[in-house]
Amino acid sequence: MELQQRQLLIGFPDTGKTTFLAALWHVVQSKQVSDSLITHNLDGDYTYLNKTRDSWLRFESLSRTELRSDEEVCLSLTDPKTGKVAELIVPDTKGEAFNTQWEERSCTKKFYAFAKESAGVLLFINPDRFIEPQWITPQVQDMTRSLRENPTEDNAQSETQRKLLPKWTPESAADAVKIVDILQFVSNDPFDGRQVKLALIISAWDVVGHDYKKPQDWLQMRAPLLHQFLTSNRDRFDYQMFGVSAQGGDYKNVEALLVHERISDRIRVVDERGRVSCNITLPIQWILGESE
């Protein structure tokens, strides 16, 4: 009897989920990468996946208008050696539902139900668009003072001016804070205290991979709050980090990508040991218990 396990793929908008899915769909269909998972029981509608894969094969970025507002994708994959099956659910490809979770403190019951039945989570972070905290430090004050027309102008703002300043909105929080909040919710509520198997995927790895050897190095430097949170909660989160470049590089330099005879070879996946492969199913396999 096959072991079937549900995995949830989540992330805020523009975190590389769609490109990952496109590359994943190609790999599991084409079987070009040895040791990768393959498709299992093709009995659904794959229009969306085929559309995204076509764009990926043409080295084209998929525009946001081509994505439906709350696209939900379901994909069944299997390891041909062990017969284990992973059912990958993407409840919201655009990622806007996670903004709602952070900002409005609610999620759909559908997402909640998916999470409750899941054994693991793939969480995407885009290092190229990652928003870090930015404070009004003395250096910043000096800089703005020097840019002002009247450098001797009093720093004080009038009460009227202060009233016109932007009020706080949850949207303005740094990304690491939002991700911690989502993970706290997932662990406390739908997972209800069960340990969450978490594959943290640093997408667009080609953009930052030359600065950081391993994905955990990036996390420690650029998202220290999240790094601390995961380190302190190993009882709640069994996690592994992966740097993934599903595109293989910038599409502006597509010539560098065209050299690959097998198009799957352009994919790059870096694990915590710094090992590099083209097997984009590695994070899924790890959650499934198939790899180290």
Binding site: T47, C107, T108, W135, T137, L165, P170, D189, F229
Partner: protein, 355 residues
């Protein structure tokens, strides 16, 4: 586009959808699942107009939603739920208005955003919105010319969970009070108000914040000092603080008054405050300590963010009156009849309860 049926109409919001012509969704989704399709019951012959867009309040929960916890701040009930559930340290941050209480707390949060602090890792918070809101006027998105902190209104709790970087031990939950300075002004003025603040008796740590910059001003320093002392005095005299209370006095805004340290007069005044407060209160409290702290950085004066808190936070995490002063076993008076019992009554009356 409208398709009329006997009892229902199906309208697709997409203009290019062929639903009306052939009953099929252009995106290949079943009509019942497509989010662009609107279903409505109409009487025969009636055509439904496209509803006018209405402004939905962003905080209105739809019936299909699952609610997450609010995350802004905790009230008494929320705080009690946490303390019932797990061992939690309660830190009461006291002081008059504009002393720098909230700025100091936010500096702790800001430090954790950048990495471990005082050898502790951030392990979670149930009030992330609350921390972010209070730090807003110090962030670039606020468009402030210089950093500031919103005035606190009312009373609430902020939550943090910290874990030692050494890996030993479980994470420790901490509740910090964020109380308006006006409340402490009331406590200073009224014994009744002081006694009504039951929370004071439950505090693991009582932190009294004095505006260090005001203490530099010849015209302001005496009123700043003595008003703060009055708060302490009221709490002690009304038994809200006592022999098991762990009290820290923080002189805030060190980033602004460090430059005056070379001024002997200022240094002497701070020393005078410490001497006088120790003389009056040290024997009445479990512990009394003094620290200089800064809620903002000043690189020019070599004052980092949260200066001074690294010396005091570890004890907030690790220590409590229960650990430092274990409660003695107490005996009812009427039970003491032997010579040994009489010895106890005479020499250790604190262990004896009147029946």
């Amino acid at each position: 586009m409208v398709e009329q049926t006997d009892s229902t109409s199906q309208i697709c919001k997409r203009e290019d959808c062929t639903l009306a012509k052939d009953g099929k969704c252009i995106e290949g989704v079943s009509v019942s699942d497509c989010i662009n399709v609107q279903h409505s019951e109409l009487s025969s012959g009636e055509i439904e107009q496209e509803p006018k867009p209405t402004q939905e309040p962003s905080t209105t929960a739809r019936p299909i939603d699952h609610q997450l916890h609010p995350a802004e701040e905790l009230n008494d009930e929320d705080a009690n739920a946490i303390t019932r559930d797990r061992l939690t340290k309660l830190i009461i941050v006291a002081g008059l208005p504009k002393a720098g209480k909230t700025t100091l707390l936010v500096s702790l949060y800001r430090s954790l955003l950048a990495g471990p602090f005082a050898n502790y890792n951030f392990a979670g918070s149930l009030t992330l919105h609350g921390w972010e809101l209070r730090g807003h006027l110090s962030s670039l998105v606020s468009d402030q010319v210089k950093p500031d902190t919103e005035r606190t209104l009312g009373m609430s709790y902020l939550h943090l969970r910290l874990k030692s970087c050494n890996g030993d031990g479980s994470p420790q939950d901490m509740l910090f009070t964020d109380i308006t300075g006006e409340r402490f002004r009331d406590i200073r003025d009224s014994a009744q108000d002081c006694r009504e603040m039951d929370l004071l008796k439950r505090a693991d740590h009582f932190v009294l914040v004095l505006d260090g910059l005001s203490l530099c001003s010849q015209s302001e320093r005496h009123i700043t000092y003595h008003n703060a002392e009055m708060i302490l005095n009221m709490c002690v005299d009304n038994y809200m603080l006592g022999g098991r209370s762990l009290v820290d006095i923080l002189f805030t805004k060190y980033d602004l008054f460090k430059s005056k340290e070379s001024d002997n007069e200022h240094a002497r005044f701070l020393a005078l405050i410490e001497t006088e407060l120790r003389k009056k209160y040290e024997s009445k409290l479990g512990r009394l300590r003094f620290f200089k702290t800064a809620g903002r950085e000043n690189p020019g004066e070599n004052v980092p963010l949260a200066f001074g808190l690294d010396k005091v936070v570890p004890s907030w995490v690790e220590e409590s009156p229960t650990l430092i002063f274990p409660s003695p076993i107490r005996f009812g008076h009427s039970n003491l009849i032997s010579e040994f019992d009489k010895f106890l009554m005479k020499h250790n009356p604190e262990f004896v309860d009147e029946d």
